[in-house]
Structure formats: C-alpha cells, structure tokens
C-alpha cells in the first residue's frame, strides 16, 4: 500500500506536467495531437490523484488534510477537478494551461515535502472537519480559478484594445464568456466558503474549548467572504461589469492569499494545527 502511495506521489507531478504541456501545446502551438490528448490526459491525472488521496486516507486513517503539504495536494486536486467540470459544462477547452499550472505547482510542492503522518490529533479525524476543510479548500480553489479567468479577461481586454491579434486573441474564449466563467467561479467559491464558515461555526465551539470568535483565521476568512459577497452584490445590484469586476475579482483573491498568509505566519490561535 505504502509503495503505491510513494509511486503515485512521484507520478502525480509528472502527470500534471504532461497535462499542462498538452494544454500549452494546444493553446500556443495549435497542435492537433495535443488538442486530442489533453482532456483524456487530465482525466487520467484526476483518476490517479483521486486514487492517491483515497489511498492516503485509508493507509493513514485520516483524510489528507492534516498537514500543509497534504492540503496542497487536495488543493491541486480540487483546482484540476473544478477546471474539468468547467470544461465539461461550458465546453471551453482553451484555458486549461492557465488553470492547471496552479495545480501542477501545488502538487509539486506537496510531492517534494509531504510526510506520512500516522499519529494525528483526534479532533482532526472528525467528519465535520472533513466537510469544513474540503468546502473551504474547494471555495479557495474556485476563487483561484476566478482570479485566473479575471487575469485572462484583462489580458484579452488589453490585447483587443491595443490591436494585438496574436495567440491570446485567437485562442482565448471571448470576453463575455471569460467574465461569465470568472463570476461562476466566484459564486461557487462564495457558496462553498459559506458552507465552510457555517460548518465551522457549528463544529469548532464543540471541538475546541479555546474557541474564540476573535480567532484571526476566522476573522480573515469572514473578511474574504464579505469581500466576495460585496463583489457579487456590486455585480447584481449596482450592475458592475467588464474590466472593473474582473479587477475586483483578482484584488479579492490577492487580499485573501495575503491575509491568510499573514495570519498563518504571524498570529496564533486555536485554529492552527500544524
């Protein structure tokens, strides 16, 4: 079992690299062969990744969310899976390179530094924790995807404005679709983060005696949630659209990453396990 886990751990970055390479060849070189194999390659990578996460769960008797590097692997999986769902639903197949390169980065770091942890705190074996963490991770993955689509929107916007009709112009979906993809990702992320916060508020006071509503990570997460909620309101109620809402999406994601990094590095609280 452990041998399989080690092999899959080594195989995964290779599989992600091959997938990203195929998507890059399809986007930048218009390669028919790459266009043909990229989606099946992503499917195979996702299957390997799912098997890897399941194997870790059964082998170490806890969901793979107990260390930073386990979580990175879950993030890589959730980004790749979210992208595959987007590709399937929207039939937009040209943006994979820009999204999956994030998954490759997360999985590469995870593969290099992950350790087999068998002795974990009892609190980390809870099913509610699983729902809490997985929904939070999927939520942040969706925000990452929305930021990538926001970035692609701005790139294409700039290219159209400045009469650059090259690879980006030819291969990216249109601006309206990119905006739609970004906003769908924001909405999905907002719903998932709402679930994570809701489950957390039910479970955390029961699990931790030291629970506090003033926990820095809790406050940070709520601020991020409010930021995205505000963005959605400005989109629907005020009617913001186009470049402005895409800049807001990227800014919100940058603030999320920045604030969570600062909180993890400089603040301590009950909400810190590793």
């Amino acid at each position: 079992m452990t041998t399989h886990i080690v092999l899959l751990n080594i195989l995964l970055p290779v599989a992600y690299f091959a997938t990203v390479w195929a998507y890059a060849k399809a986007f930048f070189k218009n390669s028919p062969a790459a266009k043909k194999i990229k989606t099946p390659l992503l499917g195979a990578t996702l299957v390997c990744h799912a098997l890897y996460l399941l194997a870790r769960t059964f082998r170490f008797d806890h969901p793979p969310i107990t260390t930073v590097f386990e979580i990175m692997s879950v993030i890589a999986f959730s980004i790749a899976l979210s992208y595959r769902v987007i590709e399937y639903v929207t039939k937009t197949k040209n943006t994979g390179y820009f999204i999956l390169i994030l998954a490759l980065g997360f999985q590469l770091i995870s593969t290099l530094f992950i350790q087999d942890l068998t002795d974990v705190k009892t609190v980390l074996r809870s099913h509610l924790l699983g729902v809490h963490v997985v929904s939070a991770l999927l939520g942040y993955s969706a925000f990452a995807i929305s930021a990538v689509y926001g970035f692609l929107y701005l790139m294409l916007y700039h290219h159209i404005k400045s009469n650059h009709f090259g690879v980006v112009y030819e291969n990216l979906p249109n601006l309206e679709k990119l905006e739609g993809l970004a906003m769908t990702a924001v909405l999905s992320g907002f719903v998932l983060l709402s679930v994570a916060i809701g489950v957390g508020l039910i479970w955390l006071p029961r699990a931790f005696e030291s629970f506090s509503y003033f926990d820095p990570k809790l406050i940070g997460t709520v601020i991020v949630w409010a930021l995205y909620g505000g963005g959605l309101i400005s989109k629907w109620a005020i009617g913001w659209q186009g470049r402005k809402i895409m800049i807001l999406s990227i800014a919100a994601f940058s603030i999320s990453i920045f604030s969570l990094t600062i909180i993890n590095l400089f603040f301590s609280g009950f909400h810190k396990f590793y």
């Binding site: 028919p32 009709f165 112009y169 309206e176």
Partner: protein, 440 residues
C-alpha cells in the same frame, strides 16, 4: 490511361484573359460532349471567375511527352471554340498530367490554390460543375473517384487543419471582433451609422451571423429606410443616434464626414447610462468617424480599417503556416488514389491475361483432344491447365507487386503487356461501361 489537366487561373492570367475562356453552364453543356467524343474517355470542366480548368482521361501510357501531345489538340480546340486564339491566352494555359493533375485538383479542393488561401468556396463550384458533367454522361469511374477524393481532402483539411479559420476580409474581421467580445450575437444589437458600402457589407455579415437586431441611422432617412428593408433592420433618425447608443452593443460607422460622428465626451456620458456595458465600435469611415480618445474609455473597443486589416493579415499569415499540414493530407490521399488506380489497372490486366491464355489452351486442347485416348483426355486438361498456371504465376505475382512503384512506370508496363499480348480486344469484348481502363 492518363489524367490530363489544362487550365488558366488567377496566377497565370489577368481577368481580361481569363474571361475569354470562361464557360457558362449552357456552353459547358455543349462543350463537354464534344470534348469527350474528340479527346477523352471522361472529362469535366471547372469554370469560375478565377479559373477555367479541363480535366480529362485520355488513352495511352503516362509519359510526359504524351501529356504535351494530348494537351495540344485540346488547347487548339478550346481556343477555337471560345474564339480566344492569341498568344496571351495560349501562354497563360498550363497543362499537367497524371499525379500532378490529381495533386492540382486536391490543392484546389483544400483551398491552397485559391486566390485567398483557405477559401474553399471552390469546392461547391467543383461539385456543381462535376454534377453538370455527370448529367451530360461525360464522366466515369475514374473522375468520379477523383472528385470524391477531392471532396474528402477538402473535408479533412477543414477538420484537421485551421487553414480555413479566421476572417480574411475586413467586413468578416469586424464580425470576428464581435465574437471575441460577445458570446452570443443573437442576444446583441447593432447600430449601423451611414450607408457606406463596407459598412453595409459588415452589417449584412452581422445579420447573416444572427445578430439580435440591427438599427440603421443615416443623414438621408430614405436611404436608411431602403437599406433597412433590404438587409432586415429598423431605420431611425440620425439625430436619435445618441439615444440608440445607450442600448446597442455594436456600432458600425461608415459616414463620409469631416467631423467626428461620436466624440469621447458623448460616449463617456452614454457609458454611464448603459452601466458601462461593453461597446464595440467599428469605425470604417474615412476620415475617421469616431474620436480616437473613445478607445481610452473603459469597456469601449474602437477599431478602424487599420486594425481590421491587421486581423486579416494575421489570419492570412497563420493560414499560410498550415500549408505543410495540408500538403501532407494531399500526399496521403494521392498515395491512396494511386493505389486504387493501380489496382484498377492491374486486376483487369491479370484477368485479361489469364483469360487469353485459357482461351488459347482451350482452343488447342479442343483441336487436338481426339489424338488422345479417352482415358488420357482428363489428364490432358489437367496438365495443360497446370502449364498455363505455372507460366502465368510469375507474371501475375510481378504485376501485383507493381503497386507502390512509380505510377508512370507501372502504367507503361501495363500498357506494354496489354499491347504485347493483344489484350485490347479481349477487354473490348467484355467491356464494362463503368470501367475506364477498358478503353485501352
């Protein structure tokens, strides 16, 4: 049997020369049977504004000299038929034979021989002209197979390469730009300012691509009404232009005006009213109709003739990079059709050869059978059949193995065998109307 092509096109002649050899449908109906009876076993003609090409199947081995020899009388006949005899017309004509002629047809079908690379409108014209020839009963198995393969090449090129993708005219470039900003044109609205020719063509293209609605504003209301009626849309007063700008997604401006039709301030005020919804403005007026500062406004995209021409240039350059991939497809299909053609040639020849030997054997046995005792007659049948089989085994094997050799060589050998053994008469006796090789 040999495929012959002779023609004139946009590369070899200007329009005033090309038009001398242009055939109307009625002219084709009278020319095709005449050409077939005089020169070919099968033929058809493609005649468009950019080219006139005659494809014909002639008897004889596939040698270059024969191509020239076969083409000469046909050229004389065509020039005489079209009263186009003259050094300019004759020198603009080209001739190709065998695989070269087939390759030319495949290039035509793939769009790489078109005036605009990747334009495969010619495929429809080929289909129409081939159907006309088929109706006149001047085509047969070989040309039918060749045309089907040409259509297959066209289909493969469309699906396996991007040579047909991307706008290659200014008016389509404007539509392509619209598609890069908006998802679904049927949910969008367009405003045409002015009634200039390019603007009208662009608006027509938008309508053809299913634009939700089209509004036309022109200083002369009657002209706007007329245009709206002809391309499908609604006309408004020119003074209502700014009001309409609040609700449309695409503006095409093609006005002959010394002053800007839309200034940056006007558009800025409009953008506030329309909640900053994206707006594409295609300015194809000369001098420019739209204040260049409008492009600095958020969510407003202004494009002029220059930027549309740049899209066209880039698409054409990109199409050119696909030519090697198209040539690879053509080569594959040429190989396939050559194998089919060789099998078509070889199999009847083997069959004829065996039939001829069997006839000789049977006749000789019949003549001499009485010289043998009744007990030995079956043995005579058996032994003579064995001799014939053994004699033919090596030639049959070698003929079958000729597939894959140089096409001209194999045609020459088959022709030599047929001549050597007098197989012309054997095939003629059992001639199948659908098999062109029977004419040899």
């Amino acid at each position: 049997m040999q495929l012959l092509l002779l023609g004139i096109n946009h590369r070899t002649a200007l329009l005033d020369v090309r038009e001398k050899l242009w055939f109307s449908d009625d002219e084709l109906r009278s020319a095709l049977p005449a050409l077939k009876s005089r020169f070919f076993s099968e033929c058809f003609i493609i005649s468009t504004c950019n080219r006139t090409e005659v494809y014909g199947v002639v008897d004889g081995p596939g040698e270059a000299a024969t191509v020239e020899a076969a083409a000469g009388p046909v050229i004389d006949y065509l020039l005489d038929l079209k009263s186009a005899a003259g050094s300019d017309t004759r020198s603009a004509l080209y001739t190709l034979g065998g695989a070269g002629a087939a390759a030319h047809l495949f290039k035509l079908a793939s769009g790489i021989d078109s005036m605009i690379i990747g334009d495969i409108q010619i495929l429809n014209q080929v289909k129409t002209h081939y159907n006309l020839a088929a109706d006149m009963h001047v085509t047969g198995t070989f040309l039918s197979k060749l045309i089907q393969t040409a259509f297959h090449v066209g289909k493969r090129v469309r699906t396996e390469t991007t040579i047909c993708e991307g706008a290659v005219s200014v008016s389509y470039a404007a539509v392509e730009l619209s598609n890069k900003i908006f998802s679904n044109l049927s949910e969008k609205t367009a405003l045409l300012i002015g009634a200039g020719e390019t603007g009208e063509i662009t608006a027509k293209n938008l309508v053809a691509r299913g634009i939700g609605s089209l509004t036309i504003a022109n200083r002369t209301r009657a002209k706007a009404d007329e245009l709206a009626a002809s391309i499908g849309g609604a006309a408004i007063e020119f003074d209502d232009l700014l009001t309409k700008l609040q609700s449309v997604d695409i503006v095409i401006s093609s006005v002959n005006s010394p002053a800007y039709v839309l200034t940056a301030d006007q558009v800025k005020r409009t953008m506030k009213v329309r909640s900053n919804a994206p707006l594409l403005i295609v300015d194809i007026g000369v001098p420019r109709n739209i204040d260049p500062d409008v492009n600095k406004l958020e969510n407003v995209f202004v494009h002029t003739m220059d930027s549309l021409a740049r899209i066209v240039d880039q698409n054409l350059s990109r199409r050119k990079t696909e030519i090697p991939a198209v040539n690879a497809i053509i080569l594959q299909e040429l190989t396939a059709i050559r194998q089919w053609f060789e099998a078509l040639q070889v199999n009847p020849t083997i069959s004829d050869l065996r039939e001829m030997f069997e006839t000789v054997r049977a006749e000789e046995v019949k003549k001499n059978i009485n010289r043998f005792s009744k007990e030995d007659r079956d043995l005579v049948e058996l032994v003579t059949k064995r001799i014939v089989n053994k004699l033919l085994h090596l030639p049959t094997t070698n003929l079958k193995n000729m597939n894959g050799e140089n096409a001209d060589d194999s045609h020459t050998r088959i022709h030599a065998i047929r001549t050597l053994f007098g197989l012309h008469h054997t095939r003629a006796d059992s001639k199948d109307a659908s098999a062109p090789e029977t004419k040899q």
